[in-house]
């Protein structure tokens, strides 16, 4: 937009006037590196501790929480889906075949029109990592996790998380995500909620209202 170029120049000029002579890139980097970061960075609890903390948080959000060996995932998926009464589930590409029990129709998301996903009762995915302290699971556009719409439209999400990918703190998670920072990323911490009505937290406005999490321990 022609206007925009003029606006850009003007705004950058105003900023310069407001903040004085520009520093060079090296000086700016040095200054950024000098920012005090005395907050906690790394975990202070072991795997069992992190598992426990994550499970606690997830249960707080009314998510179902299960532990499994890698070999046991398929059977566990079957029993959870049976209990939940789900017969049609969306899946992104890249989900291991062993995780898809017979008796349930799994519809692979071909990443075109969303109506296919919209018709499914739930979605099954893996995850990139989880943050124990905040009860957060992080999804990225990667095999087994899929595009953002697939974990957004269905009312139920069954998420399989590798226990080895559970960190305790947010800084640890961000550090791990740095190398894939360009991928579309969703942090979810429990089902959707709002506190807009009298500050009462109500679940399930948009996005999955029901969440189950399987934690794989090798």
């Amino acid at each position: 937009m022609a206007n925009s170029a003029g606006a850009r120049t003007e705004i950058l000029r105003r900023i310069r006037v407001a903040t004085g002579p520009a520093a060079d890139r090296a000086a700016i980097e040095a200054e950024w590196n000098g920012i005090e970061r005395a907050y906690k960075h790394v975990t202070s609890i072991d795997l069992e501790g992190r598992l426990h903390q994550l499970e606690d948080r997830l249960r707080d959000y009314d998510a179902g929480v299960y532990r499994s060996t890698r070999e046991g995932v398929g059977a566990l998926v079957a029993s959870i889906l049976s209990e939940r009464g789900k017969q049609t589930m969306a899946v992104p590409s890249g989900i291991p075949a062993e995780w898809l029990p017979a008796g349930v129709r799994f519809v692979e998301d071909l990443r075109g029109d969303v109506s296919g996903i919209d018709g499914c009762e739930g979605v099954l995915t893996s995850a990139t990592l989880a943050i124990a302290e905040t009860g957060t699971i992080v999804l990225q556009d990667a095999p087994g996790q899929g595009r953002r719409a697939v974990t957004l439209l269905p009312d139920y999400h069954l998420c399989v998380v590798d226990a080895a990918k559970i960190v305790q703190t947010v800084p640890e998670a961000i550090a791990l995500l740095q190398s894939t920072a360009h991928l579309a990323t969703t942090f979810f911490s429990g089902p959707s909620a709002t506190a807009d009505i009298e500050m009462t937290r109500i679940k399930g406005v948009h996005g999955p209202r029901f969440v189950d999490v399987i934690l794989i321990l090798d």
């Binding site: 105003r14 520009a22 005090e36 005395a38 920072a181 089902p191 009298e198 996005g207």
Partner: protein, 485 residues
């Protein structure tokens, strides 16, 4: 937001607005309840963080650093966002921003948009502008939906419909969604909103959003939300248009580790909000095919230029200051006559209007400092308030304004304070002048003029017969004064 907007030229002063709002019993009950709940929630999740003060300090430093090099980081963001397929636009002011967005919506071939709550779009009265161009904007945040359907105005940054209770909300939904049998439990209301909005999410081709953070290093944009409507608007439409104030940029991806901890705990008293989305440019099979972002100034660079109030721009819009403010607690947000209310509103609003209006807002505070204590990025709001009060006084005492009653009284008091003999004379005169106003029990129940506000609601004990220094002198132990005056 609804089509009603705060018109800075016409809003009443805070004092006048507050006076009538104080009589709104329902609003006061709602606000008191809501602020109690959220204050407690915040306290719990903050107190469990042994490194909370360190996070705040880092947040402050990151923002201060960014603002000092704002052009560098904006250019870096633009470069990286563009490389990832995003289109970056710049807007000098609200009018320009509106124009750009309206054009982009028209270009997208849609005459309706779905919107995520964005204070920035409220600030520029975007919906009104869209409507005037034949474009209908559907608000998709539950609170904004309530505001829009109720033809109302937001009263809080994070919980805009805080001033409404469930019965009031139910009435609005019953009417606007045509649901005569709607229940009044919060869950019923949420379900109604869910069904009503899902249809829109799946159909409307163009989405409009704000942004919480723009990541210069990656060109990514981060939106923090609770309900999931953000995710809907950010991923389902074909075209996404994001508007963000230039101060929203942060240097690096790593800086998210600070703000992702500060924001949810401060805003809603949660360890983490339900959904945070980060996307970079466009992707052929995920999300919108076209992504535009409008970087808006709208007086922010003016604030940047004022070193004493530059810190105003560090705000991450958490609303913690509103939740703790004892003034906001009594009046609610509408008294501030602006989309930004409470302590941050008191400093941001007049500055966004370049001190042409909002002059009563810096005085809408008892300077208690609670806001500064809870601000996750350590904005010294009381200090900025005092700075802005000075600017207001400078404006008010231009020319003949110097003769306004308050200014004259202040000048007179200053003269008294500069001379002990004048001060003592004034004390004696005060005792005399007061005599006709003192009742038999030794109290004053009415004061004239500027001081009348005191006795409207309080009594004043009569002045003691002897000042402290008179008593001390009688003891015979006072030293001579430095200047003998």
């Amino acid at each position: 937001m609804s089509l009603i907007t705060f018109d800075p030229a016409r809003v009443p002063t805070f004092q006048v607005a507050a006076k009538s709002l104080l009589g709104d019993t329902q609003m006061r009950k709602n606000v008191r309840h809501a602020t109690n709940v959220i204050q407690n929630k915040r306290a719990i999740v903050v107190n469990e963080m042994p490194d909370w003060q360190q996070l705040r300090e880092s947040g402050r430093q990151i923002k201060e650093h960014t603002l000092q090099h704002l052009d560098f980081y904006l250019k870096q963001f633009e470069e990286n966002c563009t490389a990832a397929g995003g289109v970056v636009h710049w807007a000098r002011d609200a009018a320009e921003a509106r124009e750009i967005v309206i054009d982009l919506v028209k270009q997208s071939g849609s005459n309706e948009v779905i919107k995520i709550k964005s204070m920035t779009t409220e600030e520029i009265s975007l919906n009104k502008g869209l409507e005037a161009n034949g474009i209908h904007a559907y608000e998709t945040d539950l609170a904004e939906l309530i505001i829009q359907m109720g033809n109302d105005l937001p009263s809080h940054i994070v919980v805009p419909a805080l001033h409404k209770n469930r019965q009031q909300i139910r009435e609005i939904f019953k009417r606007e969604m045509n649901l005569p049998d709607l229940g009044d439990q919060p869950a019923d209301l949420a379900e109604a909103a869910r069904m009503f909005l899902r249809e829109k999410f799946l159909r409307v081709k163009t989405g409009v959003s704000g942004a919480n953070f723009l990541i210069a290093e990656t060109g990514g944009v981060c939106v923090v939300e609770s309900e999931g409507n953000g995710r809907m608007c950010l991923t389902l439409p074909e075209t996404l248009i994001t508007i963000a104030g230039v101060e929203k940029v942060i240097p690096r991806y790593q800086d998210l580790e600070v703000f992702a901890q500060l924001l949810p705990r401060s805003a809603t008293g949660e360890r983490m909000n339900p959904y945070t989305s980060i996307w970079t440019g466009v992707h052929p099979t995920d999300g919108p095919r076209t992504f535009h972002i409008v970087l808006m100034d709208n007086a922010r660079t003016k604030i940047l230029a004022d070193e004493e109030s530059r810190q105003t721009l560090a705000c991450i819009r958490c609303g913690a200051c509103q939740n703790i403010c004892p003034v906001y607690r009594q009046t609610g947000g509408h008294a501030y006559g602006s989309v930004y209310a409470g302590p941050i509103g008191a400093i941001l609003t007049p500055q966004l209007q370049e001190m042409h209006s909002g002059q009563s807002l810096p005085y809408a505070s008892s300077l208690c400092g609670a806001c500064y204590e809870v601000c996750p990025v350590k904005i010294n709001i009381p200090e900025v308030l005092i700075h802005l009060r000075h600017k207001v006084v400078e404006q008010d005492t231009q020319g003949f304004g110097a003769l306004n009653p308050e200014a004259l009284a202040m000048k007179a008091m200053a003269m008294l304070f500069m001379s002990e003999s004048r001060f003592r004379a004034a004390q004696r005169m005060g005792r005399m002048a007061e005599r006709p106003l003192v009742n038999k029990a030794g109290w004053v129940t009415w004061l004239p003029g500027l001081l009348g506000g005191w006795t409207q609601v309080r009594d004043l004990h009569e002045m003691p017969k002897q000042t402290f220094r008179e008593w001390f002198e009688q003891r015979g132990e006072s030293e001579g004064s430095a200047d003998g005056k």
